[in-house]
């Protein structure tokens, strides 16, 4: 399910089956040319990745709108905001909230976050539409799907 009118209508009707939120955390920073390019490219890859995961597990996952933040922002404050999002989402019966990000600085603040954080190293091999990039993303999707399924099985 995605953050779209039709999907939400369907969600409301079959709430008992959709118990997981997937929330991409995407940093932005426009002040430096080099960083901006890197962040834009990672954001593109993250969107593809998140969409692919959602496609595999449509019937149990809600892909939330991206959470954007300044790369230089204080992560403690950001974690607090994030927990606020999570708290609101849990008012629906969402029992799993999974954050997915390429930004390694979240790793240090994992304990401030009340839910599962999935950090994966960003890989960028040439063009985003190239064959090898497709292969890498497919591989990452497969492994992430396995991981999410293991969260489901643990309770």
């Amino acid at each position: 399910m995605k953050w779209r009118k039709n999907d939400i209508q369907q969600y409301v009707q079959s709430k008992e089956y959709i118990d997981t939120i997937l929330l991409p955390l995407i940093p932005i920073q426009l002040s430096s040319d080099d960083d901006a390019e890197k962040h834009a490219s990672q954001s593109e890859v993250m969107n593809i990745l998140a969409n692919e995961i959602e496609k595999e597990l449509t019937g149990r996952i809600m892909l939330a709108p991206n959470y954007h933040y300044l790369k230089s922002a204080d992560k403690q404050l950001e974690s607090k905001r994030l927990n606020g999002w999570a708290e609101d989402m849990k008012k629906q019966p969402f029992s799993h909230i999974v954050y997915i990000t390429f930004d390694s600085s979240w790793k240090k603040h994992e304990k401030d976050i009340s839910d599962n954080l999935l950090w994966m190293p960003a890989v960028q091999v040439g063009e985003i539409n190239s064959k090898e990039m497709h292969g890498i993303i497919r591989e990452q999707v497969g492994q992430t799907v396995e991981l999410i399924r293991s969260y489901w099985q643990s309770n």
């Binding site: 079959s14 959709i18 595999e56 019937g59 149990r60 799907v145």
Partner: protein, 170 residues
């Protein structure tokens, strides 16, 4: 002094010329509306288009295999390339069958023998939905209908697939 040959009178000459020129102009005016009226008939329908999925018929066995291909799709504002997948195998009657991997419950992607506990079945990772090898849903699991089946055709030994169609209720 009268000539044997039938002379064309001035009046006849003008009549012929004007009819000719007028007819020509009328034809010129009519040709575009007629072409437009006929156009929908000439246009190939894009819905029924079958796509070559890059799989030779000889490679299809009785074991379902997953194939992926992409088609162009116009969807409202966007024209985009859409990835499609199918599970293809030969059934007991040696017919090729291509199932859509989209679970009929809530749309997750099912896979053949996706769970070790349920061999010889399609398995949906989301809510443990299951389907027998012939695509029929296993009673007692969440899905309420059999897997959709793709329209298919074999041309020059290659498999072509079209749109997925729902099958009869099991």
């Amino acid at each position: 002094m009268s000539n044997e040959k039938q002379q064309v009178s001035r009046r006849q000459f003008l009549n012929y010329t004007l009819t000719g020129v007028g007819g020509f102009m009328a034809a010129g005016l009519l040709i575009s509306p007629i072409r437009m009226a006929v156009d929908p008939v000439l246009k190939e329908s894009s819905a029924g288009d079958l796509a070559n999925v890059g799989l030779s018929v000889d490679d299809i066995t009785s074991e379902p295999q997953r194939i992926d291909w992409s088609v162009d799709q116009v969807d409202g504002w966007y024209e985009s390339e859409v990835n499609r997948s199918a599970w293809v195998y030969r059934n007991e009657d040696d017919e090729i069958v291509a199932f859509s991997p989209v679970c009929k419950h809530l749309g997750c992607v099912v896979s053949w023998e996706g769970s070790e506990n349920h061999p010889n079945e399609y398995f949906c990772p989301c809510h443990d939905g299951r389907y027998y090898k012939d695509g029929t849903n296993v009673p007692g699991t969440p899905p309420l209908a059999p897997l959709d089946e793709y329209e298919q055709e074999v041309r020059d030994g290659m498999l072509f697939l079209g749109d997925a169609r729902p099958r009869e209720e099991a």
